[in-house]
Structures are given as structure tokens and as C-alpha cells.
């Protein structure tokens, strides 16, 4: 796509410099991306272990592995760590950092020092939460009042940690918005931008505008607990539902902070391995902004049974169905891109296809929950747990794994074992479905979430779900070992192993320190596959 050349005689890969200081003081977006990647992957595995422990407790109806209070702590830690430490920074901070400058033809992000600062703020937040583990909270990741205002576990410290993490998110979003506006290479017009960049832009807007609201909300909760000011406690003139309104004003857009970058990844992977131009480029690009905008209008669909007014519930239910439009636009366009494509089932493509399949299930089951009458029955049951995991694991995590396998050669300059990667994918895909599909049935039958014990009639589906978690866990272990082994003794990666047309593949693997020897002049979009040369 770009008519520039790389002068190989001065090529110094960005990973060349060694030593701890070259990492902790780096302002190179690619290294900061790796720091995020290592951190979020670590927390993903830790929170995954909590999930396995939860599922092990649920293997039998009785509370025989851990005490109910420990179970409450486990699901709080699983949810909080997965949400705030892994999936919110997730793809945006790791792959966003690595890819945005490379894809738009820039030497770095707009504010490199601020970028490093964002990472250190993220680490500070994690340290605060780790200190809070001395007396871990049992509120669930949502910190709902009035319970969170009264429990004697350490809610203040964990919410303070999340408050600090929010600043990392805000500053990263700010950095990416300015970078995409100001640092694009000549000729890289808005309608030539890779779709991952459109997705990152929409995500950054959400990070910048929604995160302050949860920050203030958690600060109000801390004020209520420490100074006794009555924001949410009815006894002091407060309103517990007000907390939920504020909390979900951020946390629903946060769902899209998690998923939109993954959608951007899928838009990059599918055309490369279908060898076809992406279908409906502008529709996919603007649907990212559409999802971001609509995400601000639907927050109270988490609160239909919380005592909000019928009028508000009706308005929010109606608005919720609007989300289906931009998300369906994406799914239909990906499918149309696959149509009559020359499909190559690389492991990254398998994850992309899994995303489309599983995210569709996640999205369609959301319609049941968005409908007022059905939600009265399904609210706070395992149906919600299954729906949420189909969107978050089936969507975001599949996108994350797809991105890992797709850009791995570019990032690290090594190849992983493709056969093992496919075996891992198979375990993960089967394990995920065995774990979470039965939970739809459990939810419809009325099994509530967040209980350590359950009636014996649910045992077969519950234990099936636990067996599935073991298969899923095995798949993730195989994948992790394979990717680490690739770093140690994988073959050297060529510059462009998949024949991608995007800018990041036009530089050596791993990219040089300054990305481009000369700032490229872009003359076309990056999806012109299948054309006769």
C-alpha cells in the first residue's frame, strides 16, 4: 500500500537493548505494549485460577471445598481482576500501543512519556488492590450499595485501586485520540485507516469520557464509608439505586471498551486469511463509533429489577435494542467478507471465526435480557453469567487470542508452532462451550448466580460446566506454553508471513526502534486483497 522502502543496513530491532532500565523507563510504544501485555496476561491467568476454584466448588451441590464467604471473595476477585486488570486495559493498552503508531505510519504515540506514566499508574492501581487483599472484599466486582457501604471487608482500598486504574485508562485514551488525529502519515486519510484504528479511536473516546464517572462514583462510595456522608444509604437520605445509575453509566460503555478493540482485530484478521477486501469498510468503521455512542444510552438495562421506574425501564429497554444494529452490521460484513473468499484456517483465523460464532450467541442472548418481561425472570441467574461470558470470552478473549497469534511474529520476530496452536484453539473452543452453554439452561431453570451451594436437581449441568472449565483451562495452558516456547526457540519470523497489506507488515519483524526509516506516503487502503497485480 505504501511506496516507501526500508533501509535494512541501519535496522536495529526495538528489542535489541537489554537491561531492566531499558524496560521500566522506556517511552517506546512497542515496549510499553509488551509491559501491558505481560501484566494483563499475568492477571488473566491469576483470575482464571480463581475461576477454576469457583467452578471446583460448584462441582457438587454442597459447600464442601470452600466456605461461602471464601466463595464470595473468590468471585469478587475473579470478576474485579478480570474486569479492571485484564479486560478493560486489555487489547486497547497492549495491542493498541503496539499497533496504532505502526498502522498509521508514525514513529510513536503523541505523548510517549505520558504513555509510560499511564503504565506506571496502572501498576500503582494493581499494588493498591494487592494490599487490599489482606482483607478482601466480598461485594462482587460491581460494589453495589448498600452492601458495599456496610460490609466490614476492605471495600475502600479495592475501590481506591480501581479509581487509580481509571486514570491510566483515561490517559491512554487521551494519548490515542491525539495520536490518531495528529500523527497519521501523509496520505493516511480517515477512510484509509485500518479498521483496528477506527475501533481504537472509538474505544479511546469511551475511555476518556466514561471513566471519570466511575471514578467519581467510587470516590462518593469511599466518602460515604469513611466520612459517613449519605449519598447511597437511605438511612442518611441517600439512594442505593443512584449508585447503580452512576456505576453503569461507566460500566456499560466499559463493556464496549472491552469488546470494540476485539472487533477491530477481527476486521484485520478476516480479510488477510480470506484474501478478500473487507466488505463494507465504512459501515464497519462508523458502526464502531455508533456502538460507542449508543453505549451511553443503555446503562439502566442492568437495573430493570433494581426498583427503577417503569417509564425509565421502558425507555432503556427500547434503547437497548438499538445496540443490535451496529453490532449486526459488523457481523454481517465479516460474513460477507468470508463469502467466496480463499479461506486459510490459520490459528488466528480460527480465533476470529470463533469470535463471530460465539459473539453472535452472546449478542442474541442479550436480546432476551434487554426485553423487560424476560429479564424479570432471567435477571441475576446463570443466564446472565452465560451471556456475559459469551460476549467477554467468546468475544473479547477470542479477539485477544486471535491478535496474539496474528501479530506475534511481527511483535517478537519469532514463529510459534502452528499445529500446537490449533490444538490449543480446539481445547479452548470446546472447553468454553461446555463450560458456559449449560449455564443458559441453568439460568432459565432459575439457578441464581453468586451462590456456593445449589439444589441437587442442578448437579448434572453444574458439574458439566465444571468439567468444561478444566478443558478450557487445559487449552489455555497449552496455548501459553506454545507461545512462550516460540519466544525461546521459535523460528525467526519473516517480515510479512501472511502477505498482509497493512503498514505494520511493511517493516521488519520485530520492528525497528523508530518504526519507519522514513515516514511512509500512503496511497491506498490496506484491504486491496485479491486484485490482479
Amino acid at each position: 500500500m505504501a511506496n516507501h522502502t526500508i533501509a535494512h543496513n541501519v535496522y536495529v530491532p526495538f528489542l535489541e537493548k537489554k537491561g531492566i532500565l531499558s524496560w521500566i523507563l522506556t517511552t517506546d510504544h512497542k515496549r510499553i505494549g509488551i509491559l501491558y501485555l505481560i501484566s494483563i496476561s499475568f492477571f488473566f491467568l491469576v483470575a482464571g485460577v480463581f475461576a477454576l476454584l469457583l467452578r471446583y466448588e460448584l462441582l457438587t451441590p454442597a459447600s464442601d471445598f470452600v466456605q461461602p464467604h471464601t466463595y464470595n471473595v473468590l468471585f469478587t476477585l475473579h470478576g474485579s481482576i478480570m474486569v479492571f486488570f485484564f479486560i478493560v486495559p486489555g487489547l486497547a493498552a497492549s495491542f493498541g500501543n503496539f499497533l496504532i503508531p505502526l498502522m498509521i505510519g508514525a514513529p510513536d504515540v503523541a505523548f510517549p512519556k505520558l504513555n509510560l506514566g499511564s503504565y506506571w499508574i496502572y501498576l500503582l492501581g494493581t499494588v493498591i488492590v494487592l494490599i487490599a487483599l489482606a482483607k478482601p472484599a466480598d461485594t462482587g466486582w460491581t460494589f453495589y450499595t448498600p452492601y458495599s457501604a456496610t460490609t466490614d471487608t476492605d471495600v475502600v482500598l479495592i475501590t481506591l485501586g480501581v479509581f487509580v486504574l481509571g486514570f491510566s485508562s483515561i490517559l491512554t485514551g487521551l494519548n490515542f485520540i491525539v495520536t490518531i488525529h495528529k500523527m497519521r502519515a501523509p496520505g493516511m486519510t480517515w477512510h484509509r485507516l485500518p479498521l483496528f484504528i477506527w475501533a481504537s479511536y472509538a474505544t479511546a473516546v469511551l475511555q476518556l469520557l466514561a471513566t471519570p464517572v466511575v471514578g467519581i462514583t467510587l470516590l462518593l462510595l469511599i466518602t460515604e464509608r469513611t466520612l459517613g456522608v449519605g449519598f447511597f444509604d437511605p438511612a442518611k437520605g441517600g439512594d442505593p439505586v443512584l449508585f447503580q445509575n452512576f456505576f453503569w453509566f461507566y460500566s456499560h460503555p466499559a463493556v464496549y471498551i472491552m469488546i470494540i478493540p476485539a472487533m477491530g482485530v477481527i476486521s484485520e484478521i478476516i480479510p488477510v486469511f480470506a484474501r478478500k477486501p473487507i466488505f463494507g469498510y465504512k459501515a464497519i468503521a462508523y458502526s464502531s463509533l455508533g456502538i460507542a455512542f449508543i453505549s451511553f444510552l443503555v446503562w439502566a438495562h442492568h437495573m430493570f429489577t433494581s426498583g427503577i421506574s417503569d417509564i425509565a425501564a421502558t425507555i432503556f429497554s427500547f434503547l437497548t435494542f438499538l445496540v443490535a444494529i451496529p453490532t449486526a452490521i459488523k457481523v454481517f460484513n465479516w460474513t460477507a467478507t468470508l463469502y467466496k473468499g480463499s479461506i486459510h484456517l490459520h490459528s488466528a483465523m480460527l480465533y476470529a471465526l470463533a469470535f463471530v460464532f460465539l459473539f453472535t450467541i452472546g449478542g442474541l442472548t442479550g436480546l432476551f435480557l434487554g426485553a423487560l418481561a424476560a429479564d424479570i425472570h432471567l435477571h441475576d441467574t446463570y443466564f446472565v453469567v452465560a451471556h456475559m461470558h459469551y460476549v467477554m470470552i467468546g468475544g473479547t478473549v477470542m479477539g485477544f487470542f486471535g491478535a496474539l497469534h496474528f501479530w506475534y511474529p511481527k511483535w517478537f520476530g519469532r514463529m510459534f508452532n502452528e499445529t500446537v496452536a490449533k490444538i490449543a484453539w480446539f481445547f479452548i473452543f470446546i472447553g468454553f462451550n461446555v463450560t458456559f452453554f449449560p449455564q443458559f439452561f441453568l439460568g432459565v431453570q432459575g439457578m441464581p448466580r453468586r451462590y456456593a451451594t445449589y439444589p441437587a436437581e442442578f448437579e448434572s449441568l453444574m458439574s458439566l460446566s465444571t468439567y468444561g472449565s478444566w478443558i478450557l483451562g487445559a487449552g489455555i495452558i497449552i496455548m501459553t506454553v506454545n507461545l512462550i516456547a516460540g519466544l525461546i526457540n521459535g523460528e525467526k519470523a519473516p517480515q510479512n508471513p501472511y502477505g498482509s497489506l497493512s503498514l505494520e507488515w511493511q517493516v521488519p519483524s520485530p520492528p525497528p526502534l523508530e518504526n519507519f526509516e522514513e515516514i511512509p506516503h500512503v496511497t491506498d487502503w490496506s484491504y486491496g486483497y485479491g486484485k490482479k497485480k
Binding site: I177, H181, K182, M183, R184, A185, P186, M188, T189, L209, V213, D239, V241, L242, N245, F246, F249, F296, L297, A300, G307, I308, S309, D310, I311, A312, I315, F316
Partner: protein, 102 residues
Amino acid sequence: MSTHSHAEEHHITSNKTYIVVWAALMVMTAITVYVSYINFGTFNIVIALVVASIKASIVALYFMHLKFEDSITWVFALFPLSLLALLIGMTITDTFTRTIVP
């Protein structure tokens, strides 16, 4: 860079403007304090919020240079205000239309 070279000129605000804005902020602070001693009922909070909004606006316009920025900066400055209106508006819609269970 790409298409933004036209917006690179920077406006230089005179010291006189800064001093006038600072004086206006001080006067409005005095008004806020003075009004808080008089009982206007619910209008106390209305007056306080209106004065605070005017103060925030002139800080953004002059101290933060919004007045001299291009349209994209205005979009980023004003869009969050519409979200704030949405947050307050819809939350109040919920609160005011709830069925009170005795």
C-alpha cells in the same frame, strides 16, 4: 502530519485579559460566599451552580484557550456536556417517576 497544518497557529492572550478574567472569577467567588448567607430556599443551590458554571466556562474559554481553538476541540469540549446532561436527565427521570411503595 496529515490535514491539520492550518490549525497550528497559536493565539497569544494579553496579560490584561488574564487579569480581567481573574478579577471576574474573584468577584463571582465573593458572590457565591455572600449568597450562601442569605436564605433563598432551593434557589441557593441554583444560584451557586449557575455562578460555578459561568466560572468554569470562562476558565475553559480564556485560561484553557478554548475560545481560540479549532472546531474539533470545541466538539471534544462540548460533547461531554451533552453526556453529563444525559446522565443527570435520565437519572432524574428514573427518580421522579418511581412508584413509591408504602
